[in-house]
């Protein structure tokens, strides 16, 4: 994430050679920092500073990873845990994009629609989703839909707010200029509003993806027997901190990968980001 921001900053200040040099060495600094922390982490365990139950060493986590890859965790292969979680988050996230973006855009264009939905969106958005779990079970039961719903509700609201905000951010003069040229409502939307809002839409979608991925743990606390979030919670119950650590590392890496994927998609679909 920081790399992406640094890259964007570098594009703008391309003239300053020294800045560019600093930007180029940043990945190196990051890699070195991560390696140093991992080394210190390993040393803490190897030298007995911290007990293995409190902080399993990277070597132990790696060993656990190998074990789980071979035999699975609780009769479910590790790849299945990963796949189940990605599928849960992915489906809910896609549904959130497909419903949240149109609703947000309409709210941005029409003050009446905005006034209609705003109270609910603003009330639900900051709500800790863990608080919804008992209700979700009573309403939707303990099946997959409950898990889907928790992730969906967490992501869709921030997408709606982001999309509405993106429309509002489009300059009045740009709209007026288009109006003067006599564009139809559709043309206004297709050729003025959409291109102008897409960069910001991508940003809110990207943030929402992060939120959805973090809600995974809450979702998989509902009667799950597979998935990375469930694995972390369940292993914690038995103080299997090595499995917890492994789950955290996997969640982190996959989350990072998904974020990169969105950034990549943004570069392809909205190459004008940052030049508007």
């Amino acid at each position: 994430m920081s790399e992406g921001l640094a890259g964007a900053a570098g594009d703008r200040d391309g003239a300053a050679a020294t800045r560019a040099g600093a930007v180029r060495s940043r990945p190196l600094v990051s890699v070195a920092a991560v390696l140093a922390v991992v080394a210190l982490w390993q040393a803490a365990g190897s030298l007995g500073w911290i007990g293995p139950a409190l902080l399993p060493t990277p070597a132990e986590v790696l060993q656990t990873g190998r074990e789980l890859a071979e035999t699975g965790y609780r009769q479910v292969p590790l790849w299945e845990h990963i796949l189940v979680s990605v599928a849960r988050a992915g489906v809910a996230f896609l549904a959130a994009v497909l419903t949240g973006v149109p609703l947000g855009l309409v709210m941005g264009v029409s003050p009446t629609v905005a006034a209609l939905f705003d109270p609910f969106v603003q009330f639900l958005r900051p709500l800790p989703k863990l608080a919804l779990i008992p209700l979700v079970i009573v309403w939707f039961g303990i099946g997959e839909f409950s898990k889907f719903f928790l992730i969906y509700i967490a992501t869709v609201l921030s997408i709606v707010v982001g999309a509405a905000g993106a429309v509002a951010a489009v300059g009045q003069e740009r709209r007026r200029a288009a109006a003067v040229l006599g564009v139809s409502r559709y043309q206004m939307f297709r050729h003025v509003l959409l291109p102008s809002t897409l960069p910001e839409l991508f940003t809110s979608v990207r943030l929402a993806l992060g939120i959805g991925w973090t809600t995974l743990i809450a979702a998989e606390m509902v009667a799950a027997t597979s998935g990375l979030g469930w694995m972390v919670v369940n292993a914690g119950a038995y103080l299997r901190t090595d499995v917890v650590m492994l789950g955290i590392v996997l969640l982190g890496l996959i989350g990072y990968g998904l974020d990169r994927a969105i950034v990549g998609l943004q570069k392809v679909m909205v190459p004008w980001t940052g030049h508007a």
Binding site: V37, L40, W41, A53, L54, I137, G141, A223, A237, Y238
Partner: protein, 360 residues
């Protein structure tokens, strides 16, 4: 000092390196390094006792303050939801002595938590039961149906044992881990056909069309004992052995009070915890309370020399093997015997004192 500063900094740093760290782990890591006393006074400033929040006999002592009196210091009562939380709290050194279930205690020992079992607080007889709908007449009937249970609990252990004893095809049973309150919600919606849980939730299911299929006591004849124990941090025991002795003595008095007057005791406990009297009555009656004198025999913990052959030591080993079987712990991590983690010294001292007190 430096060591602890380093440990803390490191715990935080390593978690910063991996995003999405659950807060619980972070706080447990950070505070574990922080909680350390420099000197060891004879009586600690405060004794932190962990309790499950449900109606249990030692709540009599919590209600009348007899633990404070016996310890000669303050008591901080730390509530927890399930044995799973206890392990985290013990690892973080946020608890000194705790009363909790056998299977999470065994899981903690396997994970090398520095803790010791100092006594048995009760054997789960009918306080934890398998409740089913009308169609579930026997454990075997769970095949093709859904059953709920609280994860890593004594009820979870008992459910697995019940499935095994009754030769149920586990592949045909849909088992869902749910928190006790969520079990009731799932039951009301019709999502589960049965649940293995404790009071007052069992009574709630029964009030809503459920009936008892099996109680944990029924598993004893097949060698499956489910009990609650007093567990203490080793470090605390070494510094304050007298607190452990006093705790067992007061507990014995609570048990005697309950046996003398079950109804009055249930009332006190129900009022103190603000729970339903009927639920308190049935939960308290659903636990068997072995006498301290009995506990120091092979029937329970042994006298320290023969502890390896005691029922509890064997029960812990069985529990460990079972946890490995279902994949929660590594087989290789299980010790040969659990006797080193059972310390009957405090039990014996409490008994010696009790004898002295009995004949003035």
């Amino acid at each position: 000092m430096l060591k602890h500063w380093l440990a803390r900094a490191l715990a935080v740093a390593s978690l910063l390196a991996v995003p999405l760290a659950p807060a619980a782990l972070l706080s447990s890591l950070a505070s574990s390094a922080a909680a350390q006393t420099a000197t060891a006074p004879a009586v600690p400033e405060v004794v932190r006792l962990g309790y499950a929040g449900g109606p249990r006999v030692w709540m009599l002592g919590k209600a009348d303050g007899s633990y404070e009196k016996a310890f000669g210091t303050k008591v901080q009562w730390v509530p927890f939801n399930s044995g799973a939380d206890v392990l985290t709290l013990l690892a973080a050194k946020e608890l000194d002595i705790v009363r909790f279930g056998s299977s999470p205690a065994v899981a903690g020992i396997i994970r090398k938590l520095p803790i010791e079992v100092i006594g048995v607080s009760g054997v789960i007889a009918t306080s934890e039961r398998l409740i089913g709908r009308a169609a579930v007449k026997s454990v075997k009937d769970l095949e093709g149906r859904t059953v709920g249970y609280p994860a890593n609990s004594t009820a979870h252990y008992a459910l697995q044992a019940a499935l095994k004893v009754n030769k149920v095809d586990v592949a045909k049973v849909k088992q869902v881990p749910l928190r006790p309150a969520d079990i009731v919600a799932a039951w009301k919606r019709g999502d589960i056909d049965a649940a293995y849980v404790w009071g007052p939730f069992t009574q709630q299911l029964e009030a809503d069309g459920g009936h008892e299929v099996l109680a944990s006591r029924d598993l004893q004849k097949d060698g499956y004992y489910v009990w609650n124990n007093f567990v203490a941090r080793k470090e605390f025991l070494e510094k304050h052995p007298q607190i452990a002795v006093q705790l067992l003595r007061v507990f014995q008095k609570n048990v005697e009070q309950y046996k003398r007057d079950p109804e009055g005791s249930a009332k006190i406990v129900a009022e103190h915890l603000n729970v339903d009297l009927a639920a308190a009555r049935s939960t308290l009656a659903g636990i068997e309370y072995p006498e301290l004198a009995e506990q120091a025999t092979l029937k329970w913990l042994g006298d320290g020399t023969d502890t390896a052959d005691s029922v509890i030591a064997k029960g812990m080993k069985d529990t460990a093997n079972f946890l490995a079987e279902i994949g929660e712990v590594r087989k290789a991590d299980i010790p040969d015997s659990f006797a080193p983690w059972i310390n009957t010294r405090y039990l014996r001292e409490a008994l010696a004192r009790k004898d002295a007190a009995v004949k003035p």
